[in-house]
Amino acid sequence: MNFKLKDIVPQLITVLAVVLVFGFFTYNAQINMENRGIDFGYGFLSQESSFDVQFSLIEYDGSHSYFRAYLVGLLNTILVSVIGIIIATILGVIVGIARLSPNYLINKFAAFYVEFFRNIPLLLQIFFWYFAALRALPLPQDAEAMFGVFFLTIKGLYVPAFIWQNFNIFFYSIIAAIIAIIVIRAHAKKVQENQGKQIPVFLISLGLIFILPFLSFLIGGVRLSFEVPVLKQLATTSFIYEGGVSLPPELIALTLSLSLYTATFIAECVRAGIQGVGKGQKEAAASIGLTPNQVLKLVIMPQALRIIIPPTTNQYLNLTKNSSLAAAIAYPDLVLVFAGTALMQTGKAIEIVSITMFTYLTLSISISILMNWYNKKIAIQEK
């Protein structure tokens, strides 16, 4: 053992400082809680919450526990993040490609979109959509139907509900189709490597994914009907829609602003990725006789994705974290339900804030682990 004092001292001092700071905080917290008569513990999670939540994916009312309230908030956060990520990705990819278009108008239009939405604080955008834009929508009784079934009103968007019979058979048919596609892809790859023959995998997959569920309708007894929302009068001036699924305006404002805002960043990632692939790569691929589609699929995209994915992952993480701004417009997400209402009722500041932070930490770390794994998988295998 060859300890050098110079190596040990700085580390020891740093650790000591950290321990001292934490110790100071814990000591104070203990004294403060003793003085105020609060006891530390997570037992409150199983107590009856006795508050209601406006919008919930799982069954919930005041008689459920605080833990259930936590789940409601978490699910709402995940819902908004997933919808936001899907829309932002689609929009971002389109805008990113549009920014590289040789067409001057499209190019400038995309640039305008990016510069416009990127430079305005997200919170302001959420407020704008929620308090200004969506408030200008018609009342339920005045709303006009879009395509006869959607109703966009000041109280939210009403869409028809799907009512399934024998849903599990339909579900299994889709699973079967996916498994079949994976097998066929593997087989096609083998055939191409051994014999050089190409099997039209894409067409077969497309056929499978339509035909198998279709068969389930014909043979499996799956039935699908729509429940269209119907206007109902409560009082002389008060109307609501009954039936169907109602999406609250908070959810619409939040997903709209989150995806419009994040799409600008994703667009920049996509643009940087495609520009990052050298011009020589395209020319080399074209010169060995690949068709433009093949060039894009086999040469450009695999290389561009490598540049695009890490920053895009960051944007997904940002979107998930930004969804906590929901609290500002009273969309019942994790922060509002748990760190807001539940905290007010129980006064367990340390426990609740730490659980909330830990949840977000887990969400972000799991997304980044997943993406790191994917990133490693597609990275260049240097020999």
Partner: protein
């Protein structure tokens, strides 16, 4: 096949196609234009559906006709190259032109033509356009929050003074250039702090915390004079000692109202607000988060494992949680961690929270720059006999920071855009003031104007910042 050939534009029938195509294109634009600006429908006699699509069809055929390669006419070739390369692009171009023409009149009329500017009551806003009177009446609140009207010159004066002092760098002669870093890193923040402390607040705002800042800044200034061999130990001991001396020996309890200036009324931080608060918070967070972030970036690349783990833990923790929960923590959880008689103003708490949060992002950006430097730079510096601090200050950091200017600018932009979140701790900057104003019973129903106003202000600030960072990046770009 002959009639297809006839329909395919080429140079032989150049003029015919050119006139025909331009005419059709012009007609389609004219139709949309009249429709949009004068509510005149040229094609009203046709069925609804056809009348709606006709401009698109005409424009498409027109663009198809004028798509002649190497026509020899310069403008036509430019047009073809930029908006009319193929059918798909032509349709997209037409759609964008139509959208612009269609959306101009409503936007113009809302912003200018139908808008009301005069007067100072709600009654003048009867038109269908924006009510800029509302902004005019509430302007002071949006700019200064609840800061008393009679005292607002203090904020103006401080900001003008700080801008002037901040622009010193442009006028410095070569002789003083070498002191600029010291000036911007230490002296200027100190002056800014004193301005806010004495002038804008004018009262006992910061209490205990102020001693800490003064101690830290004094120790940094003295630190420049200490031989680098002892620097590490010096920075561990002296700030703490200074703090204790300042607090318990120099300024006794009766001097605790350090910030009191004769003749100035104390304005508590709860009354600060509006755009000026956005600037104050952004400014201080920017100043604090940069050195903290730099320290953690160096810590993450340190050769001592314990320091590395602590840095990684710090960075990943702050990057993993949303800012709103951090502010929640500073509002409800942080007071529990402090001794009972220890009071920290909520503005200061918000600034600490945002600084720590953004510091983690700055740390990651700087780490990127450090990693991008070739090993040779480190080895060359070491072989010249430089120690850790000398190597980093004179060789590594100047190069690494140059590399990450865009990343740091993005982080600062994010910081400015995050300031509205301080509504969580009960401070109202411009967006918060808007939400307050819009619930005033005398001025209901002008949410749109307020948000558009704030959006324009933020857009200008952020766009200017991003352009400035681009210029900096170009200026410091060195070929390696």
């Amino acid at each position: 096949m002959s009639n297809i050939n006839f329909l395919k534009p080429d140079r032989t029938n150049l003029n015919t196609f050119l006139y025909l195509g331009s005419f059709l294109f012009f007609i389609s634009i004219l139709d949309v234009f009249l429709n949009s600006f004068f509510r005149l429908n040229l094609t009203g006699f046709l069925p609804n559906f056809l009348s709606f699509l006709l401009p698109l069809i005409f424009g498409f055929i027109g663009l198809y006709f004028i798509r002649i390669e190497y026509s020899g006419i310069k403008n036509l070739d430019l047009l073809n190259k930029h908006i009319n390369t193929n059918n798909f692009n032509a349709v997209l171009s037409l759609l964008i032109i139509f959208i612009i023409i269609k959306s101009l009149p409503p936007i113009l009329s809302w912003f200018v033509i139908d808008a009301s500017f005069a007067g100072d009551t709600k009654d003048v806003c009867t038109g269908s356009g924006a009510c800029w009177t509302y902004i005019k009446v509430w302007m002071r609140r949006f700019m200064y929050g609840m800061y008393p009207n009679a005292e607002q010159w203090r904020i103006n004066l401080s900001f003008v003074a700080l801008v002037l002092l901040g622009s010193v760098g442009y006028f410095a002669t070569d002789k003083f250039k070498k002191y600029l870093t010291l000036y911007y890193v230490v002296i200027y923040p100190l002056i800014a702090f004193l301005f806010i402390f004495f002038f804008i607040s004018g009262g006992p705002v910061f209490f205990d915390f102020s001693y800490g800042i003064i101690a830290a800044i004094l120790s940094i200034i003295i630190g420049f004079l200490i031989p680098s061999k002892f620097k590490f130990y010096y920075f561990l001991i002296v700030p703490l000692a200074l703090y204790v001396i300042l607090k318990y020996f120099l300024f006794f309890e009766e001097y605790i109202e350090l910030g009191k200036l004769d003749g100035l009324n104390w304005v508590e931080t709860g009354a600060w607000g509006g755009l000026s608060l956005t600037f104050i918070i952004s400014f201080f967070c920017l100043i604090f988060c940069f050195p903290i972030g730099m320290a953690f970036a160096l810590g993450r690349r340190s050769e001592f494992p314990l320091i590395r783990y602590i840095s990684v833990g710090f960075i990943e923790f702050w990057r993993g949680v949303p800012l709103i929960t951090v502010l929640f923590m500073s509002a409800v959880m942080f007071p529990m961690f402090l001794p009972e008689d220890f009071f920290i103003d909520k503005l200061v708490r918000a600034i600490i929270a945002i600084s720590l949060f953004e510091a983690a992002y700055v740390a990651e950006v700087i780490r990127g720059g450090l990693q991008a430097l070739p090993r040779g730079q480190y080895e060359a510096a070491k072989s010249l006999g430089m120690g850790y601090w000398k190597m980093h200050i004179f060789v590594i950091l100047p190069q690494a920071l140059k590399l990450v200017i865009p990343g740091i600018a993005n982080t600062f932009l994010a910081l400015v855009k995050d300031t509205p979140l301080i509504f969580v701790v009960g401070l109202l900057e411009i967006v918060g003031m808007l939400n307050l104003a819009k619930t005033n019973p005398k001025w209901l129903g002008f949410a749109m104007e307020g948000y558009v106003f704030a959006a324009i202000i933020f857009w200008i600030i952020c766009y200017a910042m991003s352009k400035y960072s681009y210029n900096l990046e170009q200026k410091y770009k060195t070929d390696r």
